[in-house]
């Protein structure tokens, strides 16, 4: 690990000023950053510790049903907040399907948004990686790439964004609150992460010094609470990143789908909202044919970036199954195996 200066600002304004310097990085739990620093992948010269900043660790429920979650709220605390998990069950299920209990106790909301890809070539300093070293090339192309992107990738980068949390947030229209030298601004989560294009080293819209202070979900997102699920295929039952995942949320009226929300994880360098699939379900019957049609629409434009063509059909099936599970109703309690394809789904046909 490289040497660095550790600073502990007392206010958000001090933090933003300290982190505006070249080479500075924010430090919250460090669950991803320390790992990257130990591997020499990240080499910040200054860590700006945000753990003591006031007011960033609150979950504020609005009377209208919306919520504002401070950037320092720990993943486990958010998932187990009763009012939050009741209003946004797919988000709670996604949080509990990610990492391990130890990591969820430490990892923060803001850090989750900003975690880096787990592409092995990004982590391996002996490999070429345009994200780590712009212009170096991409050894993932032509390498071990069965888990890489099938949507939104470019010739310069085929990595995926690893977050589970961001997937239902994308489906439900979350907003990111950002503090900067110029003041506070809101950015829709869907615009927060960048696709790689020709500049994969630029991962988000954040500028130097910008600090994520909160994530908000609007009141209308809680209207999906009765039919909202997250489903995640992993290479082992627990404690693994998504091969493919999907968040599905339905608003049902008189037995038909009034409104649908769908987003995918593990398929692109950002959480992937499937607007076309949602449109295909408006007014539809909640049946296998509708879900398959939506799944086809969700993967429109998908292309293998290497030996990963299987992920396209897998993603279709996961979208269809997540929709069937959502139609079956949100379980009273997050299942023993959150988001697992192996968990029994009472009231829903899992084979669609």
């Amino acid at each position: 690990m490289n040497s660095f200066e550790f600073v502990r600002p007392a206010t958000v304004a001090e933090a933003v000023a300290a982190a505006s310097a070249p080479g500075a990085a924010y430090h919250a739990a460090g669950t991803n950053l320390l790992d990257l620093m130990k591997g020499g992948v990240a080499r910040p010269t200054r860590l700006v510790d945000v753990n003591r900043l006031p007011g960033l660790d609150r979950i504020e429920h609005a009377p209208d049903g919306g919520v504002r979650v401070g950037a320092l709220v720990r993943n486990a605390d958010l998932a187990h907040d009763p009012a939050f998990s009741r209003r946004f069950p797919a988000v709670a299920e996604a949080l509990l399907s990610g990492a391990s209990a130890q990591l969820r106790n430490a990892a923060t909301v803001g850090g989750n948004l900003l975690q880096r890809t787990r592409c092995a070539y990004f982590y391996d300093l002996a490999s070429a990686c345009n994200k780590r070293e712009p212009g170096a090339g991409c050894d993932a192309r032509g390498g071990e790439n069965r888990l890489h992107a099938v949507l939104g990738w470019s010739g310069s980068c085929i990595a995926t964004h690893p977050s589970d949390f961001c997937v239902p947030l994308a489906a439900l229209g979350a907003t990111v609150e950002i503090e900067s030298k110029a003041g506070r601004r809101d950015v829709p989560l869907l615009d927060f992460h960048r696709l790689p294009g020709a500049a994969p080293e630029r991962e988000t819209v954040l500028e130097p010094g910008d600090l994520v202070v909160a994530v908000r979900l609007p009141a209308e997102a809680a209207r999906f609470a009765a039919h909202a699920r997250y489903l995640k295929v992993r290479e082992r039952t627990s404690y693994a990143f998504a091969v493919v995942s999907a968040a599905a949320a339905l608003r049902m009226e008189a037995g038909r789908i009034a409104e649908a929300r769908i987003a995918l994880g593990g398929v692109a360098l950002k959480p992937w909202r499937a607007h076309d699939a949602e449109a295909a379900l408006a007014g539809a019957q909640p049946d296998a044919a509708s879900f398959r049609r939506a799944a086809e629409a969700a993967l429109t434009g998908a292309e293998p970036s290497g030996g990963n063509a299987f992920k396209i059909e897998l993603a279709r099936r996961i979208v269809a199954r997540a929709l069937a599970m959502a139609a079956g109703g949100t379980p009273e309690r997050v299942p023993a195996l959150p988001a697992s394809p192996f968990a029994p789904a009472p009231g829903a046909s899992v084979h669609v």
């Binding site: 320390l34 790992d35 753990n51 391990s100 209990a101 430490a106 023993a336 959150p338």
Partner: protein, 163 residues
């Protein structure tokens, strides 16, 4: 410029002078406080061998910078038994043969103590297995570990009812 950090470890106050902020909680415990019960397995948050309770919550000590935890309360495997008496989770691991080589065991036990305190697993073995998935055991003692956690949880619940 150094940092002066106050920590309580297993009930005892410590003042730690950090000349270099790169020190993790795991390295502090093992190299400076000589509490080597907390193990360094992967050192990257993947195996759980370094699990301790940090302010009452189980966490990976290998990914926690000491500099960020001024004032924290830390409980390690060395602080779990009281007097000569093993903690119920320790006793249950012995009773259920929940280990072979023992390297992962301190982390498993601290994780189990944290899981029981969190109170989300109930008596469901599936929830216990899921809740313990951050602790790898290369000997494969998982069946015994699950039994030990459920047994210890039951004993602790009965103990608190009796008290």
């Amino acid at each position: 410029m150094g940092l002066s950090i106050a920590l309580t470890v297993n009930g005892a106050p410590h003042r730690v002078e950090l000349e270099d902020p790169r020190v993790t909680l795991l390295d502090l415990l093992r190299e400076r406080l000589h509490l080597t019960g907390t193990k360094k397995g992967c050192d990257r948050g993947q195996c759980g061998a370094c699990t301790v309770l940090l302010d009452g919550r189980r966490t990976n000590a290998c990914l926690a910078l000491v500099a960020a935890h001024d004032g924290a309360d830390v409980l390690t495997i060395e602080g779990l038994a009281s007097g000569g008496e093993l903690h119920p989770v320790q006793a249950a691991f012995i009773a259920h043969d929940a280990l072979q080589c023992g390297f992962c065991t301190p982390g498993q036990i601290m994780s189990a103590v944290g899981l029981i305190a969190e109170g989300h697993a109930g008596n469901d073995p599936e929830r216990v297995r899921e809740g313990m998935s951050g602790n790898l055991c290369r000997c494969g003692a998982y069946a015994g570990i699950t039994e030990a956690v459920l047994d210890a949880q039951g004993r602790l619940a009965r103990g608190s009812e009796a008290a």
